[in-house]
Symmetry: C2
Subunit: 260 residues, 2 copies
DNA sequence: AACGACGTCTCATATAATGAGACAAAATAT
DNA sequence: ATATTTTGTCTCATTATATGAGACGTCGTT
C-alpha cells in the first residue's frame, strides 16, 4: 500500500531513502538495519549508492546517514512544480496576516495528506521545515476536506488506503461513519478535525476546488482546544472559503501529481 | 564530473530524474530523448519506474512528466536537514527587513553553489521556487566566499571542478587569477561578484564560518548595476558580516552534506 | 586479553535490466 | 481520404547488475 514495490533496484533504493528521510535526524546503519527488509550487505550497498549519488550524505565521524544536497536541489524543483504551495502562498499569507493561528496547505498522496506549506503572521516559527509532514486523511480536517470532494472512484480507492486506527475517542474507525460525515462536509463546504488525530488539536479546513470542481488540495486553520473552541474556529469559515476559492481559481491549469 | 556515474540502475534513474527536474516544466518523453544518453526503451522504462514510485508524475492527456509528490515529501525533509536555510532564515529575515535587495543563502555542492534560500522584505516575489538554483562557484560572490575559506585539500578539489567558462569579460578564466583573488577575499572577509557571471549583476557575499572556522555556506546581497554600484554594495559589509557570524555560531554542530 | 558490535568486503549465484526491433495509435503531410 | 511520419509502448535473447551468506577488520566493552 502506498509505495509501489516491484520496481527492482530503484524501488529498493528509494525505500532506503525514505527510511533515512523518515527518521528526521542523522541515523546509523545499525539502526536502519533493525527495521529494514534488506540483509546487511544489501542495505550497506544501497546506502553507499545513494551517498555516492548525493541523495544521502555520510558523516564519517558519527557514522550516520542523512539526506544529501542533491535531494535539496531536487527538492526545490519538486516543491515549485509538484506542490500547490507556490500558487497558494500569497493567498494564504493574506489570510494569515489577520490571524494568530497558522494556516496549512495540504495535498493528497496515496491516501495520506502531505502538508506542503504552513504560514503564520508571526515569523518566530520555522515554516518550511514542517512542510512535507504526512498525516492520515480520515482523521484530519485537511484530509476529510479533500476526501469529501474526490470523484466516486478516487474516494473508493482512498478509503481502501485508510487504516482507521483509533488515535482518540473521536476518531472514525470505519468507512461508513466517515462516509456520513463526508456528506455533511460536502453540504457545508467545511471540515472539522474534532480532536480526531491528536487530543487537544482541532482545525477547520476547506477544499481547494478548481472552477471545474476538481479537488487539488485543502487549507486549514489548526489550533489547540485551550486557545479556541470549534465554535470559535467556525467564525473563520467565510475567510477560509474565500481564500480556498481564490487559490482554486488560479489552480485551474495546475495539475496535481497523479497517483502512482 | 559532478554526478558520480557507475552506480548501476539507481544512478541511471537519478540521472533521468535530474533531467526532468532540470527542465523546470512538464516535459514529453521525446524531448527528454533528444538529450538523453539512454536508448528509447531504456529511457521509457526508467521514466515508468520513477513514475510508479511517485518520484515523477505523468499527465496522460499532455503525455508529460514532471516531479512527483513523493519528491515533495522527501524535499522538505532534505531541506530541513541538509540545508542551512532553517538555521539561517531568521537571521537573514532580520537583515533583509532593512534592505530593498534580496539576500541569498548558498552552499557548495560538487564545486557548484546551490542557493538554498532567498529572502526579501517585499513579499511580491516567489522565493522558494528560486531556491535550489545552481551556479558555478568561480564567478559568483557566494561561490568565491566559500572557496576562499575551504581547506587546502578541498580547495584543490573544488578548483578542478571549475569550468572557467568566460561568461563576461570580467570572468576568471584560470585557477591562478582566481587564487590571487581568494587571498584578497580571505584578508577582507568579503567577496564581490563584479559582473563575472552575468552582465549587469553584482553582489557582495560573506562566508558562513562556524566558531571552529569551518565554512558551511555563504550569504550575499545581489543587485543590478543600474540599482547599486560596488561601492554602494560595500556599505552592506558590516551588516552582512554580522549576519553571517550569527548564522555560523548556530551552525557549529550542523554538518553540511559531504561531497559524494 | 577476550568478546561483542558494527561496518565493510568477497564472489558464486540469482535476478534485473538492456536495447534492437517490432508494433500500435495518433499526428501530419499529401 | 490516404499515406507517411512521429511518438509511445512492448518483447525477449542477451548482458549487466545485484544479491546475500559468510568472512574480515576495527572499535568498544567487559
Amino acid at each position: 500500500m502506498g509505495v509501489v514495490t516491484g520496481d527492482g533496484t530503484v524501488g529498493k533504493a528509494l525505500t532506503v531513502l525514505d527510511q533515512v528521510a523518515g527518521i528526521g535526524r542523522p541515523v546509523r546503519m545499525r539502526e536502519l538495519l533493525e527495521t529494514s527488509e534488506f540483509p546487511k550487505p544489501t542495505l550497506y550497498r544501497l546506502l553507499q549508492t545513494l551517498t555516492n549519488q548525493g541523495m544521502l550524505t555520510y558523516n564519517t565521524e558519527a557514522q550516520t546517514y542523512a539526506p544529501g544536497i542533491r535531494l535539496v536541489r531536487l527538492a526545490h524543483v519538486a516543491w515549485s512544480q509538484a506542490s500547490l504551495a507556490p500558487i497558494a502562498r500569497p493567498h494564504v499569507d493574506a489570510l494569515a496576516a489577520n490571524l494568530r493561528e497558522a494556516v496549512h496547505v495540504a495535498q493528497i498522496d496515496n491516501g495520506q495528506v502531505v502538508f506542503v506549506d504552513k504560514r503564520q503572521a508571526s515569523t518566530k516559527f520555522s515554516t518550511l521545515a514542517q512542510a512535507g509532514q504526512v498525516a492520515p486523511a480520515y482523521c484530519t480536517g485537511v484530509g476529510k476536506a479533500i476526501l469529501a470532494f474526490l470523484s466516486e472512484e478516487d474516494l473508493e480507492q482512498a478509503l481502501l488506503q485508510q487504516a482507521f486506527h483509533q488515535y482518540t475517542p473521536a476518531t472514525h474507525t470505519s468507512a461508513n461513519t466517515l462516509r456520513a460525515e463526508l456528506e455533511t462536509i460536502r453540504a457545508e463546504g467545511i471540515a472539522f478535525d474534532r480532536e480526531e488525530h491528536a487530543a487537544g488539536i482541532i482545525s477547520i479546513a476547506a477544499p481547494i476546488l478548481t472552477p471545474s470542481r476538481r479537488v487539488v488540495g485543502s487549507i486549514s486553520i489548526a489550533t489547540a482546544t485551550n486557545r479556541h473552541s470549534l465554535e470559535g474556529l467556525g467564525k473563520f469559515r467565510p475567510a477560509l472559503l474565500e481564500c480556498a476559492q481564490k487559490i482554486g481559481a488560479e489552480a485551474q491549469s495546475w495539475q496535481p501529481p497523479s497517483l502512482p
